[in-house]
Protein backbone atom coordinates (compact mmCIF):
# COMPACT_ATOMS: atom_id res chain seq x y z
CA UNK A 1 0.00 0.00 0.00
CA UNK A 2 1.19 3.47 -0.80
CA UNK A 3 1.64 6.07 1.91
CA UNK A 4 -1.44 7.94 0.78
CA UNK A 5 -3.66 4.84 0.92
CA UNK A 6 -2.21 3.98 4.33
CA UNK A 7 -2.95 7.49 5.60
CA UNK A 8 -6.51 7.24 4.28
CA UNK A 9 -7.13 3.84 5.88
CA UNK A 10 -5.69 5.15 9.14
CA UNK A 11 -8.08 8.15 9.12
CA UNK A 12 -11.11 5.92 8.55
CA UNK A 13 -9.99 3.39 11.17
CA UNK A 14 -9.26 6.13 13.68
CA UNK A 15 -12.68 7.72 13.15
CA UNK A 16 -14.48 4.39 13.67
CA UNK A 17 -12.33 3.54 16.70
CA UNK A 18 -12.99 6.97 18.21
CA UNK A 19 -16.76 6.53 17.78
CA UNK A 20 -16.55 3.04 19.27
CA UNK A 21 -14.67 4.31 22.34
CA UNK A 22 -16.96 7.32 22.81
CA UNK A 23 -20.05 5.12 22.59
CA UNK A 24 -18.73 2.39 24.90
CA UNK A 25 -17.57 4.84 27.55
CA UNK A 26 -20.93 6.57 27.42
CA UNK A 27 -19.70 10.00 26.25
CA UNK A 28 -22.17 9.58 23.38
CA UNK A 29 -25.31 8.14 24.99
CA UNK A 30 -27.27 5.24 23.53
CA UNK A 31 -30.19 7.43 22.46
CA UNK A 32 -27.92 9.53 20.26
CA UNK A 33 -25.86 6.83 18.61
CA UNK A 34 -25.04 3.16 18.83
CA UNK A 35 -21.52 1.78 18.87
CA UNK A 36 -20.21 1.02 15.34
CA UNK A 37 -19.95 -2.75 15.95
CA UNK A 38 -23.64 -2.81 16.96
CA UNK A 39 -24.54 -0.88 13.80
CA UNK A 40 -22.66 -3.45 11.72
CA UNK A 41 -24.45 -6.30 13.50
CA UNK A 42 -27.87 -4.66 13.05
CA UNK A 43 -27.19 -3.96 9.39
CA UNK A 44 -26.32 -7.62 8.83
CA UNK A 45 -29.50 -8.76 10.61
CA UNK A 46 -31.66 -6.24 8.76
CA UNK A 47 -30.34 -7.37 5.37
CA UNK A 48 -30.50 -11.08 6.26
CA UNK A 49 -34.09 -10.83 7.48
CA UNK A 50 -35.15 -9.42 4.12
CA UNK A 51 -37.57 -6.92 5.61
CA UNK A 52 -35.87 -4.05 3.78
CA UNK A 53 -35.85 -5.79 0.37
CA UNK A 54 -39.01 -4.00 -0.76
CA UNK A 55 -37.67 -0.58 0.20
CA UNK A 56 -34.29 -1.27 -1.39
CA UNK A 57 -35.92 -2.46 -4.62
CA UNK A 58 -38.16 0.61 -4.75
CA UNK A 59 -35.32 3.05 -4.23
CA UNK A 60 -33.10 1.22 -6.72
CA UNK A 61 -35.83 1.08 -9.40
CA UNK A 62 -36.70 4.77 -9.05
CA UNK A 63 -33.04 5.80 -9.09
CA UNK A 64 -32.43 3.68 -12.19
CA UNK A 65 -35.49 5.12 -13.98
CA UNK A 66 -34.52 8.71 -13.18
CA UNK A 67 -30.92 8.02 -14.19
CA UNK A 68 -31.78 6.43 -17.56
CA UNK A 69 -34.14 9.32 -18.28
CA UNK A 70 -31.51 11.90 -17.33
CA UNK A 71 -28.79 10.17 -19.39
CA UNK A 72 -30.87 9.82 -22.55
CA UNK A 73 -32.54 13.23 -22.42
CA UNK A 74 -29.27 14.85 -21.36
CA UNK A 75 -27.19 13.52 -24.26
CA UNK A 76 -29.88 14.15 -26.90
CA UNK A 77 -30.66 17.63 -25.56
CA UNK A 78 -26.95 18.39 -25.29
CA UNK A 79 -26.36 17.36 -28.91
CA UNK A 80 -29.34 19.44 -30.12
CA UNK A 81 -28.44 22.51 -28.06
CA UNK A 82 -24.88 22.27 -29.34
CA UNK A 83 -26.08 22.62 -32.93
CA UNK A 84 -28.35 25.56 -32.17
CA UNK A 85 -26.24 28.55 -31.17
CA UNK A 86 -29.13 30.89 -30.26
CA UNK A 87 -30.78 28.37 -27.97
CA UNK A 88 -27.48 27.70 -26.25
CA UNK A 89 -26.86 31.40 -25.61
CA UNK A 90 -30.34 31.73 -24.14
CA UNK A 91 -29.95 28.70 -21.90
CA UNK A 92 -26.44 29.65 -20.73
CA UNK A 93 -27.69 31.73 -17.74
CA UNK A 94 -29.96 28.82 -16.75
CA UNK A 95 -27.04 26.37 -16.74
CA UNK A 96 -24.84 28.83 -14.85
CA UNK A 97 -27.31 29.32 -11.98
CA UNK A 98 -29.10 25.96 -12.08
CA UNK A 99 -27.26 24.24 -9.26
CA UNK A 100 -27.58 27.34 -7.08
CA UNK A 101 -31.35 26.89 -7.03
CA UNK A 102 -32.66 24.36 -4.49
CA UNK A 103 -34.37 21.87 -6.84
CA UNK A 104 -35.94 20.18 -3.82
CA UNK A 105 -38.04 23.33 -3.35
CA UNK A 106 -40.03 22.09 -6.37
CA UNK A 107 -40.85 18.80 -4.66
CA UNK A 108 -43.93 20.11 -2.78
CA UNK A 109 -45.20 21.57 -6.02
CA UNK A 110 -44.75 18.26 -7.86
CA UNK A 111 -46.57 16.42 -5.07
CA UNK A 112 -49.48 18.81 -5.41
CA UNK A 113 -49.59 18.32 -9.19
CA UNK A 114 -48.83 14.59 -9.53
CA UNK A 115 -49.85 13.20 -6.16
CA UNK A 116 -47.71 11.46 -3.57
CA UNK A 117 -46.37 8.67 -5.78
CA UNK A 118 -43.11 7.76 -7.49
CA UNK A 119 -43.42 10.35 -10.25
CA UNK A 120 -42.53 13.48 -8.20
CA UNK A 121 -39.43 11.71 -6.83
CA UNK A 122 -38.30 10.57 -10.26
CA UNK A 123 -38.86 14.09 -11.62
CA UNK A 124 -36.73 15.65 -8.87
CA UNK A 125 -33.94 13.13 -9.43
CA UNK A 126 -34.19 13.65 -13.20
CA UNK A 127 -34.09 17.45 -12.84
CA UNK A 128 -31.00 17.23 -10.63
CA UNK A 129 -29.17 14.91 -13.01
CA UNK A 130 -30.13 16.06 -16.49
CA UNK A 131 -28.44 19.47 -16.41
CA UNK A 132 -25.10 17.99 -15.34
CA UNK A 133 -25.50 15.64 -18.29
CA UNK A 134 -26.34 18.44 -20.77
CA UNK A 135 -23.54 20.73 -19.57
CA UNK A 136 -20.92 17.97 -19.81
CA UNK A 137 -22.17 16.81 -23.21
CA UNK A 138 -21.85 20.40 -24.48
CA UNK A 139 -18.40 20.61 -22.93
CA UNK A 140 -17.37 17.38 -24.65
CA UNK A 141 -18.77 18.38 -28.03
CA UNK A 142 -16.90 21.70 -27.81
CA UNK A 143 -13.65 19.76 -27.65
CA UNK A 144 -14.20 17.51 -30.65
CA UNK A 145 -11.20 18.13 -32.97
CA UNK A 146 -12.11 20.10 -36.09
CA UNK A 147 -10.35 17.55 -38.26
CA UNK A 148 -12.96 14.94 -37.33
CA UNK A 149 -15.77 17.29 -38.37
CA UNK A 150 -14.02 17.98 -41.66
CA UNK A 151 -13.63 14.24 -42.25
CA UNK A 152 -17.35 13.82 -41.63
CA UNK A 153 -18.10 16.46 -44.21
CA UNK A 154 -15.81 14.83 -46.77
CA UNK A 155 -17.53 11.48 -46.13
CA UNK A 156 -20.87 13.26 -46.58
CA UNK A 157 -22.26 11.93 -43.31
CA UNK A 158 -25.69 13.15 -42.30
CA UNK A 159 -25.91 15.13 -39.02
CA UNK A 160 -27.28 12.04 -37.25
CA UNK A 161 -24.48 9.82 -38.59
CA UNK A 162 -21.89 12.44 -37.61
CA UNK A 163 -23.30 12.57 -34.09
CA UNK A 164 -23.49 8.80 -33.62
CA UNK A 165 -20.20 7.84 -35.29
CA UNK A 166 -17.90 10.74 -34.62
CA UNK A 167 -18.82 13.51 -32.25
CA UNK A 168 -20.51 11.57 -29.45
CA UNK A 169 -17.77 8.90 -29.22
CA UNK A 170 -15.15 11.65 -29.32
CA UNK A 171 -16.93 13.43 -26.48
CA UNK A 172 -17.40 10.20 -24.49
CA UNK A 173 -14.96 10.95 -21.62
CA UNK A 174 -16.77 14.21 -20.86
CA UNK A 175 -20.15 12.57 -21.18
CA UNK A 176 -18.96 9.96 -18.69
CA UNK A 177 -18.04 12.73 -16.24
CA UNK A 178 -21.59 14.00 -16.64
CA UNK A 179 -22.94 10.49 -16.12
CA UNK A 180 -20.94 10.13 -12.91
CA UNK A 181 -22.51 13.33 -11.58
CA UNK A 182 -25.93 12.24 -12.82
CA UNK A 183 -25.67 8.97 -10.87
CA UNK A 184 -24.85 10.85 -7.67
CA UNK A 185 -27.60 13.41 -8.27
CA UNK A 186 -30.22 10.77 -9.13
CA UNK A 187 -29.42 8.95 -5.90
CA UNK A 188 -29.52 12.18 -3.88
CA UNK A 189 -32.80 13.18 -5.55
CA UNK A 190 -34.58 9.90 -4.85
CA UNK A 191 -33.31 9.40 -1.30
CA UNK A 192 -33.85 13.07 -0.47
CA UNK A 193 -37.41 13.23 -1.68
CA UNK A 194 -38.26 9.89 -0.06
CA UNK A 195 -36.87 11.37 3.10
CA UNK A 196 -38.84 14.61 2.99
CA UNK A 197 -42.22 13.11 2.18
CA UNK A 198 -43.12 9.75 0.64
CA UNK A 199 -44.69 6.36 1.23
CA UNK A 200 -41.79 3.98 0.78
CA UNK A 201 -38.14 3.44 -0.04
CA UNK A 202 -34.93 3.54 2.00
CA UNK A 203 -35.14 7.30 2.60
CA UNK A 204 -38.66 6.83 3.93
CA UNK A 205 -37.56 3.97 6.20
CA UNK A 206 -34.80 6.13 7.68
CA UNK A 207 -37.15 9.02 8.37
CA UNK A 208 -39.73 6.57 9.77
CA UNK A 209 -37.13 5.03 12.09
CA UNK A 210 -36.03 8.51 13.13
CA UNK A 211 -39.59 9.52 14.04
CA UNK A 212 -39.92 6.35 16.14
CA UNK A 213 -36.47 6.74 17.78
CA UNK A 214 -35.63 3.32 16.33
CA UNK A 215 -31.85 3.67 16.22
CA UNK A 216 -31.41 -0.06 15.61
CA UNK A 217 -32.92 0.49 12.14
CA UNK A 218 -31.95 4.09 11.43
CA UNK A 219 -28.16 3.85 11.80
CA UNK A 220 -27.74 0.60 9.82
CA UNK A 221 -29.79 2.07 6.95
CA UNK A 222 -27.78 5.30 6.95
CA UNK A 223 -24.59 3.25 6.82
CA UNK A 224 -26.07 1.14 4.00
CA UNK A 225 -26.72 4.27 1.92
CA UNK A 226 -23.26 5.66 2.64
CA UNK A 227 -21.62 2.37 1.60
CA UNK A 228 -23.75 2.13 -1.55
CA UNK A 229 -23.04 5.66 -2.75
CA UNK A 230 -19.33 5.50 -1.91
CA UNK A 231 -19.03 2.16 -3.76
CA UNK A 232 -20.87 3.41 -6.86
CA UNK A 233 -18.79 6.56 -6.92
CA UNK A 234 -15.43 4.89 -6.62
CA UNK A 235 -16.29 2.37 -9.35
CA UNK A 236 -17.39 5.15 -11.72
CA UNK A 237 -14.36 7.23 -10.78
CA UNK A 238 -12.10 4.33 -11.69
CA UNK A 239 -13.85 3.77 -15.05
CA UNK A 240 -13.52 7.48 -15.77
CA UNK A 241 -9.80 7.49 -15.01
CA UNK A 242 -9.15 4.44 -17.23
CA UNK A 243 -11.07 6.01 -20.09
CA UNK A 244 -9.22 9.30 -19.73
CA UNK A 245 -5.89 7.50 -19.49
CA UNK A 246 -6.64 5.60 -22.71
CA UNK A 247 -7.21 8.93 -24.45
CA UNK A 248 -3.95 10.18 -22.99
CA UNK A 249 -5.60 12.78 -20.82
Amino acid sequence: MSRVALYRAAVVAAAIALLEVLCLTGVIDKITMQAPHLIARDLWRLLASGQMNGAIAKTATNTALALVLALCVGVVAGALIHRWRGLRDTLEPLFATYYAVPVFAFYPFFIVVFGLGDLPQILIAFMLGVVAMIVNTLNGLDRVPTVLLKTARIMRLSPLQTALRLTLPAAAPYILTGAKLAVAYAFIGIIGSEFILSRGGIGYEISFAYTNFDNAVMYPLIVLILIASIAINSVLGRVERTLLARRGM
Partner: protein, 249 residues
Protein backbone atom coordinates in the same frame (compact mmCIF):
# COMPACT_ATOMS: atom_id res chain seq x y z
CA UNK B 1 -17.03 44.13 -22.48
CA UNK B 2 -20.20 46.23 -22.49
CA UNK B 3 -21.34 44.34 -25.55
CA UNK B 4 -20.79 41.04 -23.79
CA UNK B 5 -22.74 42.10 -20.70
CA UNK B 6 -25.48 43.43 -22.97
CA UNK B 7 -25.72 40.03 -24.66
CA UNK B 8 -25.77 38.36 -21.24
CA UNK B 9 -28.65 40.56 -20.07
CA UNK B 10 -30.55 39.89 -23.28
CA UNK B 11 -30.09 36.12 -22.90
CA UNK B 12 -31.20 36.21 -19.27
CA UNK B 13 -34.25 38.26 -20.21
CA UNK B 14 -35.21 35.90 -23.05
CA UNK B 15 -34.86 32.99 -20.64
CA UNK B 16 -37.10 34.60 -17.99
CA UNK B 17 -39.76 35.44 -20.57
CA UNK B 18 -39.59 31.90 -21.98
CA UNK B 19 -39.97 30.36 -18.52
CA UNK B 20 -42.95 32.63 -17.75
CA UNK B 21 -44.57 31.66 -21.07
CA UNK B 22 -43.97 27.98 -20.27
CA UNK B 23 -45.57 28.44 -16.86
CA UNK B 24 -48.55 30.24 -18.38
CA UNK B 25 -48.88 27.48 -20.99
CA UNK B 26 -48.84 24.71 -18.38
CA UNK B 27 -51.41 26.66 -16.37
CA UNK B 28 -53.69 26.86 -19.41
CA UNK B 29 -53.35 23.08 -19.76
CA UNK B 30 -53.81 21.90 -16.19
CA UNK B 31 -55.98 24.67 -14.75
CA UNK B 32 -56.20 26.43 -11.39
CA UNK B 33 -56.58 23.32 -9.25
CA UNK B 34 -53.07 22.04 -9.94
CA UNK B 35 -51.15 25.20 -10.65
CA UNK B 36 -51.85 28.90 -10.08
CA UNK B 37 -51.08 31.20 -13.01
CA UNK B 38 -47.97 33.45 -12.90
CA UNK B 39 -50.19 36.47 -12.29
CA UNK B 40 -52.10 34.83 -9.43
CA UNK B 41 -48.82 33.68 -7.88
CA UNK B 42 -47.34 37.17 -8.11
CA UNK B 43 -50.47 38.59 -6.50
CA UNK B 44 -50.29 36.03 -3.69
CA UNK B 45 -46.56 36.69 -3.27
CA UNK B 46 -47.25 40.42 -2.94
CA UNK B 47 -49.84 39.67 -0.27
CA UNK B 48 -47.47 37.28 1.50
CA UNK B 49 -44.59 39.75 1.48
CA UNK B 50 -46.75 42.65 2.70
CA UNK B 51 -48.20 40.59 5.60
CA UNK B 52 -46.57 39.99 9.00
CA UNK B 53 -46.63 36.19 9.13
CA UNK B 54 -43.95 35.78 6.47
CA UNK B 55 -41.09 37.66 8.12
CA UNK B 56 -40.46 35.46 11.18
CA UNK B 57 -39.99 32.52 8.78
CA UNK B 58 -37.69 34.50 6.50
CA UNK B 59 -35.70 35.73 9.50
CA UNK B 60 -35.29 32.22 10.84
CA UNK B 61 -34.05 30.82 7.53
CA UNK B 62 -31.72 33.74 6.91
CA UNK B 63 -30.23 33.56 10.41
CA UNK B 64 -29.50 29.83 10.10
CA UNK B 65 -28.14 30.39 6.59
CA UNK B 66 -25.91 33.34 7.61
CA UNK B 67 -24.35 31.49 10.55
CA UNK B 68 -23.90 28.34 8.46
CA UNK B 69 -22.23 30.26 5.62
CA UNK B 70 -19.89 32.11 7.99
CA UNK B 71 -18.85 28.80 9.58
CA UNK B 72 -18.44 27.14 6.15
CA UNK B 73 -16.10 29.92 5.01
CA UNK B 74 -13.96 29.92 8.18
CA UNK B 75 -13.70 26.13 8.46
CA UNK B 76 -13.37 25.69 4.70
CA UNK B 77 -10.54 28.21 4.32
CA UNK B 78 -8.70 26.78 7.31
CA UNK B 79 -8.95 23.16 6.16
CA UNK B 80 -8.33 24.15 2.54
CA UNK B 81 -5.08 25.96 3.36
CA UNK B 82 -3.96 23.13 5.61
CA UNK B 83 -4.60 20.44 2.97
CA UNK B 84 -3.03 22.66 0.33
CA UNK B 85 0.19 23.00 2.34
CA UNK B 86 0.42 19.44 3.61
CA UNK B 87 0.77 17.35 0.46
CA UNK B 88 0.32 13.94 2.12
CA UNK B 89 -2.84 14.93 3.99
CA UNK B 90 -4.15 16.67 0.90
CA UNK B 91 -3.60 13.64 -1.34
CA UNK B 92 -5.17 11.32 1.21
CA UNK B 93 -8.18 13.40 2.20
CA UNK B 94 -9.16 15.15 -1.04
CA UNK B 95 -10.79 12.06 -2.65
CA UNK B 96 -12.65 11.40 0.59
CA UNK B 97 -14.05 14.95 0.59
CA UNK B 98 -15.03 14.63 -3.09
CA UNK B 99 -16.86 11.38 -2.27
CA UNK B 100 -18.60 13.05 0.64
CA UNK B 101 -19.95 15.61 -1.82
CA UNK B 102 -21.70 12.84 -3.78
CA UNK B 103 -23.50 11.08 -0.92
CA UNK B 104 -27.13 11.94 -0.11
CA UNK B 105 -26.43 14.10 2.93
CA UNK B 106 -30.08 14.32 3.86
CA UNK B 107 -29.76 10.86 5.40
CA UNK B 108 -27.22 12.28 7.84
CA UNK B 109 -29.68 14.86 9.10
CA UNK B 110 -31.30 12.57 11.73
CA UNK B 111 -27.84 12.07 13.25
CA UNK B 112 -27.38 15.84 13.45
CA UNK B 113 -30.85 16.18 14.95
CA UNK B 114 -30.03 13.62 17.62
CA UNK B 115 -26.68 15.26 18.31
CA UNK B 116 -27.78 18.91 18.32
CA UNK B 117 -31.49 18.67 19.06
CA UNK B 118 -34.30 20.08 16.94
CA UNK B 119 -33.58 23.73 16.29
CA UNK B 120 -31.13 26.29 15.00
CA UNK B 121 -27.89 24.41 15.66
CA UNK B 122 -28.93 21.27 13.76
CA UNK B 123 -29.99 23.45 10.82
CA UNK B 124 -26.71 25.34 10.90
CA UNK B 125 -24.70 22.11 11.10
CA UNK B 126 -26.58 20.72 8.10
CA UNK B 127 -25.93 23.91 6.13
CA UNK B 128 -22.24 23.69 7.02
CA UNK B 129 -21.76 20.09 5.85
CA UNK B 130 -23.12 21.20 2.46
CA UNK B 131 -21.30 24.51 2.13
CA UNK B 132 -17.89 23.68 3.55
CA UNK B 133 -16.97 21.11 0.87
CA UNK B 134 -16.63 23.42 -2.16
CA UNK B 135 -14.78 26.01 -0.05
CA UNK B 136 -12.25 23.35 1.02
CA UNK B 137 -11.84 21.85 -2.46
CA UNK B 138 -11.40 25.16 -4.31
CA UNK B 139 -9.04 26.59 -1.67
CA UNK B 140 -6.96 23.41 -1.72
CA UNK B 141 -6.65 23.48 -5.51
CA UNK B 142 -5.85 27.19 -5.49
CA UNK B 143 -3.09 26.86 -2.88
CA UNK B 144 -1.55 23.92 -4.75
CA UNK B 145 -1.59 25.70 -8.08
CA UNK B 146 0.08 28.85 -6.81
CA UNK B 147 3.00 29.74 -9.09
CA UNK B 148 6.23 28.36 -7.55
CA UNK B 149 8.01 31.64 -8.28
CA UNK B 150 5.69 33.43 -5.84
CA UNK B 151 6.44 30.88 -3.12
CA UNK B 152 10.18 31.15 -3.79
CA UNK B 153 9.96 34.93 -3.47
CA UNK B 154 8.25 34.38 -0.12
CA UNK B 155 11.03 32.08 1.04
CA UNK B 156 13.67 34.56 -0.08
CA UNK B 157 11.92 37.27 1.93
CA UNK B 158 11.87 34.84 4.91
CA UNK B 159 8.15 35.18 5.44
CA UNK B 160 6.56 33.18 8.26
CA UNK B 161 3.71 30.83 7.36
CA UNK B 162 0.92 33.27 8.42
CA UNK B 163 2.67 36.06 6.50
CA UNK B 164 2.96 33.75 3.50
CA UNK B 165 -0.78 33.12 3.60
CA UNK B 166 -1.64 36.77 4.14
CA UNK B 167 0.67 38.36 1.54
CA UNK B 168 1.25 35.70 -1.11
CA UNK B 169 -1.12 32.73 -1.13
CA UNK B 170 -4.33 34.52 -0.35
CA UNK B 171 -4.00 37.25 -3.00
CA UNK B 172 -2.76 34.74 -5.60
CA UNK B 173 -5.53 32.25 -4.86
CA UNK B 174 -8.29 34.86 -4.50
CA UNK B 175 -10.14 34.20 -7.79
CA UNK B 176 -10.26 30.44 -7.16
CA UNK B 177 -11.23 30.90 -3.51
CA UNK B 178 -14.02 33.23 -4.57
CA UNK B 179 -15.37 30.52 -6.88
CA UNK B 180 -15.38 28.17 -3.87
CA UNK B 181 -17.25 30.77 -1.80
CA UNK B 182 -19.78 31.25 -4.60
CA UNK B 183 -20.55 27.53 -4.86
CA UNK B 184 -20.45 27.24 -1.06
CA UNK B 185 -23.00 30.04 -0.77
CA UNK B 186 -25.49 28.19 -2.98
CA UNK B 187 -24.96 24.82 -1.32
CA UNK B 188 -25.30 26.30 2.18
CA UNK B 189 -28.61 27.83 1.16
CA UNK B 190 -29.78 24.49 -0.24
CA UNK B 191 -28.67 22.72 2.95
CA UNK B 192 -30.46 25.14 5.26
CA UNK B 193 -33.70 24.91 3.27
CA UNK B 194 -33.56 21.10 3.08
CA UNK B 195 -33.10 20.89 6.84
CA UNK B 196 -36.22 22.98 7.33
CA UNK B 197 -38.21 20.87 4.92
CA UNK B 198 -37.54 17.72 6.90
CA UNK B 199 -37.97 18.82 10.50
CA UNK B 200 -38.40 22.30 11.92
CA UNK B 201 -41.07 24.57 13.31
CA UNK B 202 -40.13 27.71 11.42
CA UNK B 203 -38.46 28.91 8.26
CA UNK B 204 -39.15 29.00 4.53
CA UNK B 205 -38.69 25.23 4.11
CA UNK B 206 -41.22 24.68 6.88
CA UNK B 207 -43.60 27.11 5.15
CA UNK B 208 -43.33 25.02 1.97
CA UNK B 209 -44.20 21.82 3.82
CA UNK B 210 -47.15 23.51 5.58
CA UNK B 211 -48.32 24.57 2.14
CA UNK B 212 -48.57 20.89 1.12
CA UNK B 213 -50.25 19.94 4.40
CA UNK B 214 -52.92 22.60 3.94
CA UNK B 215 -53.07 21.97 0.20
CA UNK B 216 -52.37 25.66 -0.28
CA UNK B 217 -50.82 25.58 -3.77
CA UNK B 218 -50.53 29.35 -3.99
CA UNK B 219 -48.41 29.38 -0.84
CA UNK B 220 -46.20 26.57 -2.20
CA UNK B 221 -45.73 28.35 -5.53
CA UNK B 222 -45.08 31.75 -3.95
CA UNK B 223 -42.43 30.47 -1.55
CA UNK B 224 -40.83 28.38 -4.32
CA UNK B 225 -40.78 31.44 -6.56
CA UNK B 226 -39.22 33.63 -3.85
CA UNK B 227 -36.52 31.04 -3.12
CA UNK B 228 -35.71 30.47 -6.79
CA UNK B 229 -35.58 34.19 -7.59
CA UNK B 230 -33.38 34.90 -4.57
CA UNK B 231 -30.99 32.02 -5.29
CA UNK B 232 -30.75 32.80 -9.01
CA UNK B 233 -30.27 36.55 -8.46
CA UNK B 234 -27.50 36.19 -5.86
CA UNK B 235 -25.77 33.50 -7.86
CA UNK B 236 -25.85 35.66 -11.01
CA UNK B 237 -24.25 38.59 -9.17
CA UNK B 238 -21.60 36.33 -7.62
CA UNK B 239 -20.92 34.76 -11.02
CA UNK B 240 -20.33 38.22 -12.52
CA UNK B 241 -17.85 39.14 -9.75
CA UNK B 242 -16.25 35.73 -10.17
CA UNK B 243 -15.71 36.23 -13.91
CA UNK B 244 -14.26 39.70 -13.34
CA UNK B 245 -11.80 38.35 -10.75
CA UNK B 246 -10.68 35.58 -13.09
CA UNK B 247 -10.17 38.02 -15.96
CA UNK B 248 -7.94 40.23 -13.84
CA UNK B 249 -5.91 37.28 -12.61
Amino acid sequence: MTRRSFAGARNALTLVVALLLLWQGVWLLVGDVALPSPLATLRYTAKLVSGDTFYPHLYDTMRAFAIAFALSVVIGLFVGFWLGFDKLSGDALEPMIVTFYAIPKLTLYPILLLAFGLGLSAKVAFGVIHGVIPVILFTLAAVRNTKPILLKTGHVLKLSRPQMVRWILFPAAMPEIFTGLRVGFSLTLIGSLLAEMFASQRGLGYLLMTGIGLHNIELVMSVTLLIVVFAAAVSTVLLMIDKRLHRQG
